[in-house]
Amino acid sequence: MKRLPRLSTILWCALAALLLWPLFSWAIVHAVWIPDIDACRAARGVGACWGVITEKHRMLLFGRYPYAEQWRPLAATVLILLVLGGASWRRLWQPRLALGGLLVLGLAVLLMRGGLAGLSTVNTKEWGGLPLTLLISLGSTLLAFPFAILLALGRRSPLPLLRSLSTSYIELVRGVPLISLLFMAAFLFPLLLPAQLRIDILPRVVLTIAAFAAAYLAEVIRGGLQAVPAGQAIAAKALGMRYSQITLFIVLPQALRTALPALVNSFVGIFKDSSLISIVSLHELTGALAISLGGDADWRSFYLEGYLFIALIYWAFCFTLSQVSRHFEARLAHSRQKPQPEAAG
């Protein structure tokens, strides 16, 4: 005899259907997929108007980048995604390939910027959309990383002055919201530098996010450093290694390995935080939405669909990255469980 589903299962499923059905019906069943404003207006309130995405997708994805040249941000995005994909593949972790990855990222920036090999120069003011989000989050994380390692080491240093400086930097930055630092980048940077030295807003923002991220990454790395057994450093010292050697070859590699899943999660945080730069008027994904829909009287009423589209892009990236982090964590746990080979007597 087939087992009947329990009453609670039926009730829960009914509740789930009750919650999810209106969403499904709005987003799929009654949705308008073609960029037809009249059809969209007719379906208002009943079905989603995904036509707005079809109509505006170029501006949503690439912002104000010159229309005819938009193959360049597209190529840059593909390059960055390749690097990101490669970086999450354990088998490709080799120093030579890491350097190659950095070069590819540089190539992506050059491609966006232009000005050589017959490409017209595109001012950073016109950059936008997905490639800008990716460049800013990745660029600032890479810049933050060495600084974060120094801060983490500084916070654990036996030198009291170094320790208190690192600690105050980390706690200060972690105590204030990113937006106040971004305002600093927008309004205070020009005041801090001599009048002759003017830096473009994009590098200013990248540097600021890097300075912000460094404090958070430093804490994650510090966690990794704490997990390295003290015996490791003592053994290395007994072998006659110097502090720099111990740190570089014994402690840091183990610490970073332990911290890797948490580091990936921090990157997800930076990726999400990069949306804040739309407040200081740079048109990355969130900002690009405002310029593509805000000025258009016809399509402006379908902002919600635009938001959902952007949210889907963010979600896809963050979800994938957090899966990668989980994968790293599982590998780590697995390698810990492996029995240590017996020392030959």
Binding site: W12, L159, F187, A195, I279
Partner: protein
């Protein structure tokens, strides 16, 4: 002697370098300000603010000194951060327990909610919330009434208010012409920040609660069962006190994040601290001073929250150890 030199020389060099850098930056600031004809210093906080603020707890108008504007901003930050903390904690606990439910359907539903909300930037959720509240809701004239006596529309949420001027009694909001009068009104800006902030923080708190409960070793619960305690008694007397020890320190971080995240309200024009500072900055050109004020306030809020939570943590930890 040589040891001491090796120990202190690099540190002194570092400090000197830092002092040099800060001195150079400070010199540049003064130079640049002089060039633009701005006087440095915090004296401008005593001058009239010269701008209105959309909503405030205390009386405020543009003729009051600027520090009153900043104070109003801080009050507005707290007015949204405190209720959001409470809602996020309750909702987060509920979702966290939902993820541990024995039945797979609520477990999946809560899991979906967590994975959706925490992978989308808060700013985007806030903008979406604000758009929904200001564009998708009906006009005030045909406001919907979710509960008797309350009205929800494009102009916000109106609730009955308890007034004691001159007689005590309920002040019920009423639809009057094209607007709603009376009662206790919450602006769409406030509601958007409150909802987005509560939901976003709730999913992080849910993960903390789940982790905390999972961290209680099964032997403790088995021991409770063996003593003949009911499920509820086990939860209340064994799981919860032990889980709290793991939860409270992580919760502190979430409350700090929530307070800092409330600064995103500047994007939709809710007049909290950063928003007020931004207006003051644009009006007076005192970028340096305004940003210093914002940072100082957030740092003190962080310190106060951390101190309070540490006090609570000490209690929880002690009770667990006793």
């Amino acid at each position: 002697m040589r040891q001491a030199l090796l120990r202190w020389l690099p540190q002194i060099l570092l400090l000197a370098l830092l002092a040099l850098l800060l001195g150079w930056l400070g010199h540049n600031v003064l130079e640049n300000m002089r060039e633009r004809g701005i006087r440095a210093g915090f004296g401008f906080l005593l001058e009239p603010a010269g701008f209105e603020i959309g909503e405030s707890l205390f009386d405020y108008d543009a003729s009051l000194p600027l520090w009153r504007a900043f104070l109003t901003g801080v009050m507005n930050t707290l007015r949204v951060a405190l209720p959001a903390s409470v809602i996020a904690t309750l909702l987060g606990t509920l979702i966290g327990l939902g993820r541990l439910a024995r039945h797979p359907v609520p477990r999946r539903l809560c899991g979906m909610l967590v994975e959706t909300l925490r992978n989308i930037p808060l700013l985007l959720q806030l903008l979406m919330c604000y758009f929904a509240l200001t564009s998708l809701l009906p006009d005030a004239a045909d406001a919907i009434s979710p509960l008797p006596g309350s009205f929800l529309s494009k102009s916000g949420l109106f609730l009955p208010a308890w007034h004691c001027t001159p007689q005590c009694g309920w002040d019920m909001p009423q639809v009057a012409g094209f607007g709603i009068e009376g009662g206790w009104s919450l602006t769409p800006e406030y509601l958007a920040v409150l909802i987005a902030l509560s939901l976003y923080s709730a999913v992080f708190i849910a993960e903390i609660v789940r982790g905390g409960i999972l961290s209680v070793s099964s032997g403790q619960i088995a021991a409770g069962n063996a003593l003949g305690l009911t499920r509820l008694q086990v939860l209340w007397h064994i799981t919860l006190p032990l889980a709290l020890r793991a939860i409270v320190p992580a919760l502190t971080n979430q409350y700090l994040n929530l307070t800092k995240n409330s600064s995103l309200a500047v994007a939709i024009g809710y007049p909290e601290l950063v928003s007020v500072a931004n207006t003051a900055l644009n009006q007076s050109g005192r970028a340096f001073e305004c940003i210093v004020v914002v940072m100082a306030v957030y740092l003190s809020l962080s310190l106060i929250t951390a101190a309070l939570m540490n006090l609570y943590n000490a209690r929880v930890a002690l009770r667990g150890a006793a």
